[in-house]
Symmetry: C2
Subunit: 888 residues, 2 copies
């Protein structure tokens, strides 16, 4: 590479700006911006993220030219500070810190006090006239450098400090004098030589070189990778490195170090929020050795410093138009700003700050909408584990349905009902759940299962009910007969307290305090979401199977029901026997009889939900799952019949009944029920089932119309893949609908459409749109077939491994896969609208409540997104952000 081609890798703070965030990282850009604003910032420079990327591209070799640029920068820094790097007159000490494009708190490495060695420490002691301070700084540097750069476990050094304190009969670090720290520095160096085979590096330029490499390396440490995966941060950005003159908060009581938010990050209150530790370096705050004071208290002890800081905080907030998270140090009464960045905050604080900023004239409404992470609103609608208590989870499962629950362990649905009757909160703990458990799920505060994925019965039903659920907790073993279990080795008896956090998947032992959700949309949130509504193009609908859910959704702002699943109605306790009778029926007459008994139930279901949503469309999906989902499990029946046979009970009626059911279950058994006799295939093979459902829908609508209620049913045919399936099911549904309307002499506006959830449906969408009056993307199933993943199996087995190995960046069942699934969706929208102008297109898969997926739906030009009721506020905000362009 020619010299001319070497890029500029090093920028002094006064050469950069906030606009150079990608190159300088958050820390570097913030320091540059503060320097430009003439705020008190120590001198220093930033090595770019580009240098880091080159470092990785060259198999961890520093890029050519970087060394020279650092040498030049250090000379300049010496000039700016009037100190010398390695000088025994006025030694220049620096901090070396990482700083990526976004903040990854605690994830990457920092080295302070770099530049100290056996000779410069003496000079520091001389200059500061504080021998104790100098040796303390040196031992801190050896510890930190050894741990961060040389990879020696910090505890080795901490043990030596403990031993020194014991030997001297003192308790606190502050009780150790200069001699003690000097002895410890010697001991630390001996340890380094033992561990590495080399002496502790005395060359300051070598120290700097190693520290820069260590910061680069820390970008790819396991914890940093894990953090990025969890927070969906790209691996490709790299980190910058800032090298800055050290300032010292540990030079006496007029010195100190602090962190502060410009507003309260929990409540949004406009008041400084943070802490300050006198006579300390930054790491002491983190280590919690001493209890810091509240930042406000600084006003009393150092009023000038406090006023200066308050002024800077206000300036920075106005400058960045965002709440700032600040770090600073006071060295002998002089304030130095070390960092400014956008501060993390609770959902409530985020909304309130955004509202306040508009009030204060800092930003406009669109900017305010862009300031709030839509996903964070989820926190507001579920009970939460109270973060004030100090508890640790003992096991983890799938975060199947959000929210926290705490209660006594019960192992059966009946026990849950009994506990509820006694007024006791309980958590239902099962290997997995089935329709027989639903009454127990209703009674329990939450559900914990040992098996099953995100679409297991427990997960789906719990989400539908808005109950917390942790599913597939593999550390749980249950002995049902003994009413006992073990959880990650801990014994668990009936009546023991546990808690689950369905948002994180964590499980806790003991009684755990919860923070309850608000009972209604708080006014500040209502205002904020009204702004969002005025800016969004897409409508927000909700998935709801019951009138209660529909009402809840409407309160939260839903403009329609995008998915009403009729199968959950089939599973209710009083109906299941009729449904089973219908399925087991040997002939058409018996099936018709059972269907006739189901009709009034379904009519009532539909009437309730149509009334709750009056004036708004209610999309009712006809029966979708394979029939054997409504029958007892094959495995259980096999065991039971074998037991009865072995016990000589084959002559009993009970045995004959069971064998009859077993035979039908075996007959309906499928290798791959997800790809079997389900969706519209059911309605084509057993047309009488769909006919009953359509009749129930239109009888309900007519009853409501007769009462002057504006019922707007939309009939959705699931799982259509061919023109013929669409035509046959559309025509059959239409015939029944028209026939009911004629019988009742009512007019009801309705649509018949389809759930687009198969790759082939997307490819032949023009053929489907010839009949379908709307499309609703069922992206759960579409993802399953596009990838060839069964969600139940994949999320329990290989998807976690795939995420770990970064084969997948995101679980495609949680974040819509734009390239694969999205490309099919785009094709469907284009073909569908080409064949039918103005075709209404929405999404009712779970992605409909996930912000980045909502942004993609906006790009596709969908008419609405539909999600679970409690995600309606999230979708309202995300849809507005997508329309404005702040969410892409």
């Amino acid at each position: 590479m020619s010299a001319a081609a070497v890029p500029k890798y090093v920028y002094f703070f006064d050469e950069g700006s906030a606009a150079m965030l990608d190159l300088l990282g958050g820390k570097g850009a913030g320091l540059a911006e503060m320097t430009a604003a003439h705020l008190p910032v120590p001198a220093g420079f930033t090595i770019t993220t580009q240098a880091c990327l080159q470092f990785y591209a060259a198999d961890r070799a520093l890029p050519p030219g970087l060394d020279e640029q650092i040498d030049t920068a250090m000379l300049d820094l010496e000039r700016r500070t009037g100190k010398g790097f390695g000088s025994i007159e006025r030694p220049l000490l620096v901090s070396v810190r990482s700083g990526a494009r976004v903040s990854m708190p605690g994830m990457m490495d920092t080295v302070l006090n770099l530049g100290l060695n056996d000779r410069t420490v003496e000079a520091l002691a001389r200059l500061t006239q504080n021998e104790r301070f100098a040796w303390d700084a040196y031992r801190r540097f050896i510890m930190m450098f050894s741990s961060v750069v040389l990879g020696i476990d910090k505890s080795v050094f901490e043990e030596q400090i403990e031993a020194a304190k014991q030997a001297r009969g003192v308790k606190g670090d502050t009780d150790l004098d200069a001699g003690a720290w000097r002895d410890l520095a010697d001991a630390f160096k001996a340890t380094v030589r033992e561990c590495t085979g080399h002496p502790f590096p005395q060359g300051v330029r070598e120290q700097l070189d190693l520290a820069i490499r260590a910061v680069f390396d820390s970008w790819n440490s396991k914890r940093a990778i894990d953090y990025r995966r969890f927070n969906r941060i790209s691996d490709d950005w790299g980190t910058a490195v800032t090298v800055m003159e050290m300032v010292f908060g540990n030079m006496g009581d007029d010195s100190g170090t602090g962190v502060a938010f410009t507003r309260n990050p929990n409540t949004g209150e406009k008041r400084l929020f943070g802490e300050y530790l006198r006579n300390a370096q930054g790491e002491d705050v983190v280590a919690g050795v001493r209890t810091p004071e509240h930042i406000i208290d600084l006003e009393r002890s150092q009023p000038d410093v406090y006023r200066q800081f308050l002024d800077i905080a206000e300036k920075l907030e106005r400058h960045y138009r965002d709440m700032q998270d600040l770090e600073f140090t006071v060295e002998r009464g002089k304030l130095f700003m070390l960092q400014t960045r956008s501060g993390k905050r609770s959902a409530e604080a985020a909304v309130k700050i955004a509202l306040a900023f508009v009030d204060e004239g800092l930003i406009d409404g669109d900017a305010a909408l862009g300031m709030v992470d839509a996903n964070a609103l989820d926190q507001l609608f579920h009970a939460r584990i109270d973060p004030a208590q100090s508890i640790a989870s003992v096991a983890r499962g799938l975060n199947a349905s959000p929210g926290a629950a705490s209660g006594r362990v019960v192992f059966t649905a009946d026990d849950a009902v009994a506990a509820k009757a006694r007024g006791e909160a309980c958590v239902l703990v099962r290997v997995e759940t089935n329709p027989d458990d639903v009454h127990g799920m209703i009674a329990a505060e939450g559900i914990l299962t040992a098996k099953g994925g995100a679409t297991s019965h427990a997960a789906v039903v719990a989400r539908g009910m808005g109950k917390p659920c942790v599913a597939g907790c593999h550390a749980l073993q249950i002995d049902l007969r003994a009413r006992r279990a073990t959880l990650a080795g801990h014994p668990l008896a009936e009546g023991d307290w546990i808690a689950i956090d369905g948002s994180s998947g964590n499980v806790f032992l003991g009684e755990v305090a919860l923070i309850p959700p608000p009972s209604e949309l708080p006014p500040w949130l209502a205002t904020f979401l009204d702004w969002a509504d005025s800016r969004r193009r897409m409508e927000v609908w909700a998935n709801a199977d019951t009138p209660e859910d529909a009402r809840k959704a409407r309160e939260l702002g839903a403009q329609g029901i995008g998915l009403c699943r009729t199968e959950h109605m089939f599973m209710q306790t009083e109906r299941l026997p009729i449904v089973q009778a219908m399925i087991i029926a040997d002939d058409r007459a018996a099936r018709a009889e059972a269907l006739a008994r189901l009709l009034p139930f379904q009519r009532d279901d539909f009437a309730g939900i149509l009334e709750a949503m009056q004036g708004r469309p209610v999309t009712i999906r006809l029966l979708d799952p394979p029939l054997h989902e409504f029958l007892p499990s094959l495995e259980a029946l096999l065991v039971e019949t074998t037991e009865m046979r072995e016990r000589g009970q084959t002559d009993s009626q009970a045995y004959r009944d069971k064998v009859h059911v077993l035979a039908r279950v075996q007959q309906l058994h499928e290798q791959n029920p997800m790809l079997g006799l389900r969706v519209c295939r059911l309605g084509i093979v057993y047309p009488e089932i769909y006919a009953m459902q359509v009749r129930a829908i239109f009888e309900a609508a007519c009853d409501l119309r007769a009462r002057g209620i504006d019922a707007r049913p939309e009939v959705m045919i699931p799982g259509v893949g061919t023109r013929e399936e669409m035509q046959v099911t559309h025509d059959a549904a239409k015939a029944v609908a028209e026939s009911v309307l004629r019988e009742r002499a009512q007019e009801v506006a309705y649509r018949i459409g389809t759930m687009v959830e198969l790759p082939r449906a997307c490819i032949v969408a023009d053929e489907l749109a010839a009949f379908a009056e709307f499309f609703s993307f069922g992206t759960n199933d579409l993802t399953q077939t596009t990838y060839g993943y069964s969600r139940d199996d994949a999320e329990a087995s290989f998807i976690p491994r795939y995420l770990e190995k970064r084969i997948l960046r995101d679980d495609p069942f949680q974040v819509l896969d734009r390239r694969g699934v999205g490309s099919l969706m785009r094709q469907a929208v284009e073909l569908g609208r080409g064949a039918r102008a103005g075709l209404k297109v929405g999404i009712c898969g779970e992605h409909g409540g996930e912000p980045s997926s909502i942004a993609f739906c906006e790009r596709l030009g969908l008419d609405y997104v539909s999600c679970s009721p409690y995600r309606v506020p999230i979708a309202r905000l995300a849809a507005a952000q997508a329309a404005i362009g702040t969410l892409a």
Copy 2:
């Protein structure tokens, strides 16, 4: 509709030509063509297929203007024949026949002698001076008209004829005199009045009108629809109707009627082949009342007629450049041609006739290739049920693996082996098969199962072995303990003879004679396929899992192996325990140990197949199915462990072992294994499995190279759906390959590619082609995910219903779905070749051996198709036809 807009619905024979096939149907076009060639054809006209389509479009009303056109045509016909329709002087009698675009023999309706009534019959008697003939003709007409047009069961009339013969004490129809026929005609009319409430229609124009409507209706009779579905004939074509002056073969010994092929339709021999029945009408030949003579015998009895017919036959064959199937009638020594059409023939005859036509200079080689239905070649490579015997199937299952087998029933694999050892042919009859049955499947002539679809274990293994198999025969119930079964109600004991036809799915009771397949490619077929090879662009490869199959494929012309499935190697008896040990292994070390034991087996497998194909590519697919396929069934284990528990055997080692296996089977159990932990997901979660396989492949290749044998392995990664999956598996395979080549210091040319079998793979094919050096479409799986159908479940449940209801025209697992699956394939080819110029692309799904799918592959520009060894000749021919353009 204005008069000017009425289309021409009626064409006299001298107005038409062969080019008007679609409008006039096969029969009408043939009669027109013969009329134009001045061959002796009775006068007549054809009502177009368009009239039929209008008839259906108007809900079975004749289109406006048709009546008038028929009236005009009848007047013209009277003029041309010098007879009068309904005349009591010279009555005009006509036949009314159907004739669709393609021949549907016996499927649609015909009425002869139309125009007879109580008065014209007298005139006919007078004119022919043959009262018996006239009354016989009249009673025939009443019978046929009543059956075809009025829907009265023919047997009612046949019983009356029987009664008349008994009353008169005679045996044959010929023994009944004029009076008897007259009495019967009267009795028939009375019957008609009884059954319909109306007298038998005497108006000749009314007779004609009703007959035409009946022919139109017969297009949509159930048997016609079934025939079309089976033969993939469009429902949209409709039928034409020909109305033709009657000629009579039953006017004495110088009259007669015959059918003849211009060549032998079984052997292709160039010699008239057919039969002639003296003094008879056409329906007598069909009814088999008297035994006809061979057509050749006509030479002796009526040499002039024979010579004239021979001359006409040769002319027609030359004219149509195809073997013709002729119908004719001789009326008092005068020959009339009633039909000419392309004759159906055996595969052998088809090839030999095509070869002969080229020899005779009638056609060129391309035309000859186009004359043979590629699918028909399948007949040549399997044993067939000898069609000479008269047997009827008692039940039907899925035609899971083609060919016929006959043998004694055995119910277990061990019994099959024992039978084979005794030298007895046997058919293995099972509910379903599993890996433990393979030795029995090898020993048996064929396999019959009660459960399972086209990808069930029985079906897949049988196809791999080339053994006949009928799967999923629901009429079969087995009582294994009693070694008994019932088949469609018939009891079936061990040792009873049965036969199965895996090509049709039929099952027969008793000893059935088979025609064995040829032991090698017969020379006439070899010649013909050499022509095909010279014309095709695509290569033809084979799917083969064993050296024997590979050798067979190569003999049949395969140019490479497109799919070698390694899982079948895992299932062999001596290896299965090791495979199971690997799967059940609790830790990595135990798994590694089992894999190390499998390595030499796999190496030998690969060495054998690579050697058999030396100089040709062998595509080896790494392990594909979910691991639990190699373990015992969950259901069986549940029953067994429950039994042991009930019997108090829980302290036994056997119980503990079984429970251990059960636990692992439950752990690996998946809701939808087709969408679970399989394909490349296995290789990513358990990289050591793929590493072992790749090592075995390259060790085998190196061993062969060392012996101077040109081994050309191609490693195929199954089920890739993302760039990351492709990269990780490609890099891992390449690393092992290179490492083996280094160790052995050998050079082996190889490729690493992927099986494209998921919708997402097609959509991101450019990303895959960055690593994959070839694509092979796995259209079985691609069809499953594109449609969302599990083949096992769908073919056993709703696909038959879908075909019946015409929701599907074809089973998409048999005939490639061009619109859906094909569109994804096209995308993959374009993206893949865009990213990697010259990317090799083939197909290895079962569609690779299906002619219309092969034609689509030609259009996509694939490099090769790969199919089972016995379909290689079919693919060679189909690929040539596709290249020439005679197969689209």
